[in-house]
Structure formats: structure tokens, C-alpha cells
Amino acid sequence: MSKNIITIEHVTKRFPVGDGVFTALSDINLELKEGEFAGLVGPSGSGKTTLLNIMGSLDSPTQGKAIVMGRNISDLSHKESAQLRNIHIGFIFQVFNLLPVYTVYENVEFALILQNIGSAERKRMVMEALEWVGLENMANKKPSKLSGGEGQRVAIARAMVKRPNIVLADEPTANLDAANAHAIIQTMKKLNQELNTTFLFSTHDEKVMGYLDRIIHLEDGKVALDKIVLPKTTAL
């Protein structure tokens, strides 16, 4: 049996709104195992982003426990949660959010600098990550010179370069056309298989869902359905 990367136990998240509170997540229970390629789907406002935030140690649950890489999120200091993100978690956003001042290479390199990895080793790792996404020739370009699909591929390289245990991707294909969406998902699927990295998406996108091997339906902050599916084979 592969080990648990993330364990969510009775997690409830409430936000203060006006005089009262709004319950965004109520009593969620989930386990995510190493190597899974899973997706959170559900209507807008169902709590997908909120759950990703908690898993990414960007927020903590109001009740219940979120255990990520064996650490209880609620117990971590600012510094420890930064450390956890730095080493174990890669993020991919809907908008690729590259730093415009830096080149593609430097954008990818940044996470490694934070880990104090030596420059020769960094170079090897960055170039490898760029090869994974097929952008090794774009290393010296500025983000403004990239197309949308290329930008998101750089974002994948940035999330993957440090070889995290888990990648959390919040609607990564929402801003891409169909061809690019397929290409991006296929790239991630390939990395999932080669490196055994766990992926968790939030998505509305049917194209993405076709590649998932597990779909978790959220509705009104609750898990409505959690099923293992037979994914599309990655014809690359």
C-alpha cells in the first residue's frame, strides 16, 4: 500500500461574514495517497479552493485535523508552514503568476534558491524541469514573451523543479484553449507517472476530468461523491 500524503479528518472551515459565520467546509474526511492523480470538482462556491488552501498550509481548519506529510497544519508556525510548502508542496494557479522581471530560468530557479541548493546543482535541476515541460529552449526568455500555454508550462516546471511530494493545482486549465489544456494535463500526468508525484486539482473542466483517476465531488462544503475512475490512457 502506498503511504498517505494528505489526511483530512473531520475538517470544518468557517469564515466570519458580517455578524455570523459562513461554513465553507463541513466535516470533510479524505485521504490522498502517494502517486494519486485526483481532482476536486463541484459548483462554484462548493469549497474547492478553501480545501486546497488548507492542504497547502496556507490556511488552517476551524475544526478537525489536516495532516500533510505527517505534520498537523494547525500546529505549524509561520516558518514551519513556509518550510513545508517550500520542500513538499508545489502550487499551480489559474493564472500562471510568473515574476515578470525574471527570465523563465530564474522563475523556475527561485524555489531552489530558497532551499539553498548550490548553483551547479540548481542549473541541472532547472534545465531538467524545463525539459519535462519542453521549454529548455526558452530558458532565457522573459514571461511577457511567452504564450498562455508556455506560461502555464513554466508554472508547472516551477512547481515540479523541487520534486515536491504533492502538487496542488487550482483550475490550471481555466485560461487555456483546448489544445493547450490537453497538453498541460498530459504533461502533468506524465510527471505523475514518472516521478510518482501526487496531484490534486480543482476543476470545472471536462477535459481535465477525463485524465483523473479519482474524482472527489464537493457540494456545499461536503464530499458528495468520491470515486475511483478509469483514466484515459496518456497517449503521448
Binding site: 496556507l58 513556509a82 518550510q83 515574476l99 524555489a111
Partner: protein
């Protein structure tokens, strides 16, 4: 990391150019103003030292008390032995005697009738004793408008104003009228060998310069002098030394009740110069403080604007696993770097301006027409070593402080809102 930050700062013009411009301007103004104040103050002190106060000055107590009236009846007698004593006890200093005197200068026509008259502000110095250094000290050669220096008794230099007003020419004779040390009538004829203009209204008005021996005979002051001035041999005023010397000298006479006992005053104790110096210090400090505050506020605001623009960047860096504290620290590093660059640019600009004002100067002559204070009519800035670092204080401080304030926003930020913010 440093390289990474550097690249980020330099690559983003909004982040570097605007703050650098603000800081450079503030720093340049600080440097320029300091240079100007220092230059002006230096000139004023210098002029006072050379023409009036010396680095230290010895008078009789009675003379010192009524100094503004030039009370030669209260002057020293037996100055030469006192000077010899000083030369032995303080051989590293230059000691000179001077007599100031008031009175009237009368210009006779061919028949000996009065053609014109004016009040005299006379100064008798050791003109013929070249070891005294008085000629150079008082800048006489370069202040000479016409003619030459007196070479023998009975010759005098006279202010260019007199020459213009009374229609004098070199070689003309003038008569001095005044009173002797004992209060009887004094008069003496002088041949004008040259005219001078010092460029200091308080000195040029009614100026007549003669050798001290002439004054001693004319005023019945054999072996007498109103003032003994002491100068450091390098002609640079050292307040600590002067204070030490003054205390030591005056201690010898504490128990002497004679009103003709000598008293020594250092430069700062005369002509209210200590007050001016303090004044300048207070104003400089105030000016620099105001600049720091204004610049900090401006930079705080540009920092805030920059911070808003960089919200996305900070968000990504947080998500990539950088801690808030580290981001805050890098922000301060950046501010320090920009503060240093801005300070260097500003200091260079300020020094350039100061140097220009040192060469050209600002003519304030028309405000000084009736001034009694010894100050030059052209005020020049002065490039001093302090100017090379003084601007870094407001430059660095304002930038770092401004960014510390604006950076607090990073801590206030909800990490949880990240995905939301980064969605748009």
C-alpha cells in the same frame, strides 16, 4: 539570493528609479545645504580669527569689558615682555600685538584746508615685522586695489571707500585726528601708499591700516597695545587646544584683582561666535531631521504603492515557501541597496553643487551694508570631508524606515487569501 534580489530591483524601474530619484534629491539638498552652512560658518570664523579675535586674544580685563568702545586708555603697557613670555611658554603659537583706534581722517587740499573728512576705523598691526605673518593673515596683498604696502613709518593703507569718496590718490597725504591713551588730542599725517578692499563691509568702512609703531607714538602708547592675538602656526582654529590654553593662562591670574590683569579669550568666546556655531548646529540638525521625515513619508508611500504592485510577487513567493519574515527582510535589504545607490548619486550631485558654490559663491553684500558682524560679502560653500557621508544618514534612514513601514502590510496579509488573489 542577493543576486536574485539585485536583478529584481534593477529590472523593475518603478522599484528602483523613482526612489533613487527621491533620495538623490533629498541627499543632494542635504549635502549642498550643509556644505553651504559649513562654508559660510568657516568663512565667518576665519574672518573673525584673522581680523579680530585671533585663535585666542589677550586683553586687560578692563579693556575686555568695554571692548566695543576700543578703550585704548585701558590697554596693556609692557606688552613686549608679555609677548616674550608667551613665545617662550607657547613656542608653537604665533603671538602678535594689535592696536585698534577710532578717530577722524581728514583730507587737506593744496592750501591745507579740509577737503573732506570721514570717521576712521583704524588697525595698527605688525606690518613691518615680516615674522608676524600679519600681512598674509589679513590677506592684504590680494585685497590691495591700488598702490603698494607701507614700507616705513608715516605711511598707511586706506580703504578704497575713502579713496572713492574723498577723491584720494596714491601718494596723497591724510591727517588722522583722535585721542591718545591719556585722553589728550592726537594727530598725525600719513602718506597713502595704497588702497584696500577686503570685501567685508564691517572691515572696509573707514579702514586705515598702519604699522603698530606708528600707532604707539601717535597714541602715546610706548610699549603698549590693546590686544595680543595668538594663532596656531597652521592658522587653523582648534577649539579644544584654545580652551585648554585659555584655562591654563587665566588660572594664573585668578587671584589677581587688578583690572589691568590680562585675560585670555578663545575665538568662540568672542563676538558671540559660540552662539552662531550652536545656531548652525541646531539648524543643520533640524534641516536634516525635516528632510528625513519628509523623505520617509514620501518613500513610505512609494513603498506602499510598490508593495501593492508587488502583491502578486509576494504571494507567489509565499506560495513557493518563503516565509513572511524572509520576504520582509529582503524588502529591507532592497531598501538599503536603493538607499545606498540614491545616497551615492545624491552625494555626488550635492558635492558638485557645493563645489560650484565654493568656486562661484553667492553675493550677499547688499544685505550687509550696515552689518557690524565680520562676515565676507560673498558666501562660499565649502567641500569638507563630512559632506561625503552626511547625506547617507537621511538617504539610508528614510528609505529603510519608509520601507519598514510599508512592509508591515506583508504581515497583515492573509496567506489564506492567496489563491483568491492570484486567480485574477
Amino acid at each position: 539570493m542577493i543576486k536574485f534580489l539585485l536583478k529584481g530591483v534593477l529590472g523593475d524601474k518603478n522599484r528602483s528609479v523613482l526612489p533613487i530619484i527621491i533620495i538623490s534629491i533629498g541627499v543632494a539638498l542635504t549635502v549642498l545645504l550643509s556644505g553651504y552652512i559649513r562654508g559660510a560658518m568657516g568663512d565667518i570664523i576665519n574672518q573673525n580669527a584673522r581680523f579680530d579675535t585671533g585663535h585666542v586674544k589677550i586683553m586687560t580685563r578692563a579693556y575686555a569689558e568695554n571692548k566695543s568702545q576700543i578703550p585704548n586708555d585701558l590697554a596693556f603697557l609692557g606688552v613686549d615682555s608679555l609677548i616674550n613670555e608667551l613665545k617662550t611658554s607657547h613656542p608653537n603659537m604665533i603671538w602678535v600685538k594689535r592696536i585698534r583706534f577710532g578717530g577722524i581722517i581728514d583730507v587737506p587740499d593744496d592750501k591745507g584746508e579740509t577737503k573732506g573728512q570721514g570717521p576712521a576705523s583704524g588697525m595698527a598691526i605688525e606690518l613691518f615685522n615680516t615674522n608676524s605673518g600679519e600681512i598674509q593673515r589679513m590677506n592684504i596683498p590680494s585685497s590691495l586695489v591700488h598702490g603698494t604696502l607701507p614700507k616705513q613709518v608715516g605711511e598707511a593703507l586706506i580703504g578704497q571707500e575713502f579713496v572713492d569718496k574723498l577723491g584720494l590718490e596714491i601718494g596723497d597725504k591724510v591727517t588722522y585726528f583722535g585721542s591718545t591713551m591719556n585722553g589728550s588730542m592726537a594727530f598725525k599725517n600719513f602718506t597713502i601708499t595704497g588702497s584696500v578692499r577686503f570685501g567685508t563691509p564691517a572691515l572696509d568702512k573707514g579702514a586705515i591700516i598702519i604699522d603698530i609703531s606708528d600707532a604707539q607714538t601717535m597714541l602715546d602708547m610706548e610699549d603698549g597695545a590693546g590686544e595680543i592675538l595668538g594663532f596656531e602656526s597652521d592658522e587653523i582654529y582648534d577649539d579644544e587646544k584654545a580652551l585648554e590654553l585659555t584655562e591654563e593662562f587665566n588660572a594664573r591670574f585668578v587671584n589677581n584683582t587688578n583690572e589691568f590683569a590680562p585675560i585670555m579669550l578663545r575665538l568662540k568666546d568672542q563676538n558671540n561666535l559660540a552662539g552662531y556655531l550652536d545656531y548652525v548646529d541646531v539648524y543643520s540638525a533640524m534641516f536634516v531631521t525635516i528632510f528625513v521625515i519628509v523623505m520617509s513619508i514620501v518613500l513610505w508611500n512609494t513603498g506602499l504603492l510598490g508593495g501593492l504592485r508587488r502583491y502578486q510577487e509576494f504571494g507567489i513567493r509565499l506560495a513557493l515557501g518563503e516565509s513572511k519574515g524572509h520576504i520582509y527582510k529582503t524588502l529591507i535589504y532592497e531598501a538599503t541597496l536603493i538607499g545606498i545607490i540614491g545616497s551615492i548619486v545624491g552625494t555626488a550631485m550635492g558635492l558638485g553643487g557645493t563645489y560650484y558654490l565654493q568656486v562661484v559663491g553667492i553675493d550677499i553684500g547688499k544685505y550687509l551694508e550696515n552689518a557690524t558682524m565680520l562676515m565676507p560679502s560673498v558666501i562660499r560653500a565649502q567641500v569638507t570631508p563630512e559632506l561625503f557621508y552626511i547625506g547617507f544618514i537621511p538617504g539610508l534612514f528614510a528609505m529603510v524606515f519608509g520601507n519598514m513601514l510599508s512592509g508591515i502590510g506583508i504581515y497583515k496579509r492573509q496567506t489564506a487569501a492567496l489563491f483568491k488573489e492570484l486567480e485574477v
